[in-house]
């Protein structure tokens, strides 16, 4: 494990055994998260970005999901030790979950328990990981966290029930709850997808500000490239359970190598190019069924540069420049001459 990494995922394979068939949800996913950096994970629905984060948290649905292979290495900031989260006993994992690694979810409307006040729910997270804290202290801390995430009249709203708050407010509460234990990593799984555009920007700004203020690493999962462009340091693009391109944010936006990344970027509406009259190119075709993925490169049925080789063999990840890897036959050098 490299020194400035806090989390390293290595060759992660996760399979779902469902009634409708077997889904290989993750096939050799690898990425790393550096201290105080933000990693953006981008991809369409069903590409495995949420499954990866649930695997880190060890919250995959049992008994359908199974981790077949791989390692998730996490560096404990206090002891400097490397831990493989997948091998940690459940009792110890509980102290990582919500404490060292916190998570916020897509649906703020349903992610909070309707029968307890938001204060109760924040205090619960504080109390479970800090047994020596009294209820008064926890309550004080909860109010402090609510203020930190920008909830007005926090002293009053701490006793509100979730239904008394708007979606944006609830997502702020979720963030307050996740950060109340001062975690090393925050996993934000589509934190703004269910919110209005103006609220989206506010929440992203808030997450950025809190990262500077509190110092933590963030895994920002989204299907919206605009969201990661401003917030991420590095980006992993996922397609059907694989990371197809992994690079610093500038390179992804200015020099995308994988046809899928290029397609994603072209389908973002831009005012400076083409204007309103030109139709968006987008990516042709549909996401293949995860039960029955195509052979070879998983993207080949939709790829504009498809070659014979793509239909038969799956490319492995190649590093084309330092810190920039891509899974595409177009970029496998030296072997091209064989064609």
């Amino acid at each position: 494990m490299e020194k400035d990494n806090i989390l390293e995922i290595k060759n992660l394979h996760v399979t779902f055994y469902t009634e409708d068939g077997i889904v290989r949800a993750l096939q050799g996913v690898e990425y790393e998260v550096k201290h105080n950096e933000t990693l953006g994970v981008v991809g369409e629905s069903g590409c495995g970005k949420s499954v990866t984060s649930l695997t880190i948290m060890r919250l995959l649905p049992k008994p359908q999901a199974k981790v077949e292979e791989g390692q998730i290495l996490f560096r404990d900031k206090e002891t400097g030790q490397e831990i493989n989260l997948l091998e940690l006993p459940e009792e110890k994992m509980r102290h990582v979950r919500g404490n060292r690694i916190s998570m916020i979810f897509q649906e703020p409307m349903t992610a909070l328990n309707p029968v307890y006040t938001v204060g109760d729910q924040i205090m619960e997270a504080i109390l479970i990981h800090n047994p020596e804290t009294t209820r008064q202290e926890a309550r004080k801390k909860a109010i402090e966290m609510l203020k930190l995430v920008g909830i007005p009249a926090a002293e009053k709203r701490v006793d509100d029930y979730p239904h008394q708050m708007s979606g944006g407010m609830r997502q702020r509460v979720m963030i307050a709850m996740a950060l109340s234990t001062n975690p090393d990593i925050l996993i934000a799984d589509e934190p703004t997808t269910a919110l209005d555009v103006t609220i989206q920007a506010q929440i992203l700004d808030l997450i950025n500000r809190l990262q500077e203020q509190l110092g933590m690493s963030i895994i920002l999962i989204t299907h919206n490239l605009g969201v990661v462009a401003q917030n991420a340091d590095r980006i992993a693009v996922m397609y059907l359970g694989r990371i197809v391109e992994y690079a610093p944010v500038r390179e992804i936006f200015h020099d995308p190598k994988h046809p899928y990344t290029q397609g994603l970027l072209q389908s973002v509406p831009r005012l400076d190019r083409g204007g309103l009259k030109e139709p968006l190119p987008g990516i042709s075709g549909n996401l293949p069924s995860p039960y029955n993925p195509p052979p070879g490169c998983k993207f080949h049925p939709r790829c504009p540069y498809v070659m014979d080789r793509c239909r038969e063999e799956e490319p492995s990840a190649v590093e084309i420049s330092p810190g920039h890897t891509v899974r595409c036959w177009l970029h496998v050098k030296g072997e091209k001459s064989n064609e």
Partner: protein
Amino acid sequence: MNYLIKRVLQLIPTFLVATLIAFILFSLVGDPFEGLRQDPRLASQVERLRRIYGYDKDPITRYFLWIKNFLQGEWGYSIMAKRAVFQVVMERLPVSLSIGIVNTVLATLFGILLGIYSAIHLYSAADYAATALVFFGMSMPSFFFGVMALFFFVVTIPLFNVGLMTPGFHPDIANLFDKTIEYGRHLALPIFILTLLGMGGFVRYSRSAMLEVLHMDYIRTARAKGLPESVVIRKHALRNALIPIVTLLALSLPAIIGAAPITETIFSINGLGKLYIDALGANDIMVLMADLTLTISLVIIGNLLADILYAVVDPRVTLE
């Protein structure tokens, strides 16, 4: 508060309409006093009784006469028992209550616990066993199951007792402790049967309520917080799963005065259920109406209670 007052006031028309419908239905059967003419000693009284209970007038007038008397505690005269209805019902009420309360408490308690256990251990052997038990209980008719139980546990092996639960029950037993034991021997079997047959609904209901809650996003949030699974279940899942169950609890209130006419008849227990069956045979309208009015009242109160409890357990609901 205003809502509550309005809600209570609404009970009055509900009560009147329900009793009116019952009264008119019973009036269709015919004149209950006609049978008394057979008895030469009572024949002269028939005209007087008909006048007292309004059988010389139309059914609506008769209903208002009945309800006026009923509310004053004059529940009428039982043709069957040849006594005041109020007296007859009050004699039977403790018997039915003792079966009904114990049975309702056991059925709901075991039903809910078993349902929640099933949901947590979904598709385990215990879950399948519980499901099998539930379907057995729900599909087994009490007249068959009761008679079988009677045959095996009273006739073949005299473990339990059956028979008339009349006032002054077993006057030969002076010791209160022995009397209680004997009382238990009379009631244990019907209570067991009623519980087994009655808890099915609660098991299925609480199982599905719990399953639904366990798939909610806030359960995932609770787990992601690092709470132990036991806290996730007890604090976060259970409280939410109980919200719909509370309604079911309140609505099962009428069961406490014995919704068990068949079981009571099989075990010769002189409760309200058996009284009702006997009264039906004798066309004893005043008894039928008294029995039914008690049930109607409990149904209405149960509904009100369900509304109030709903607001207590769910902060999203207020009584405004």
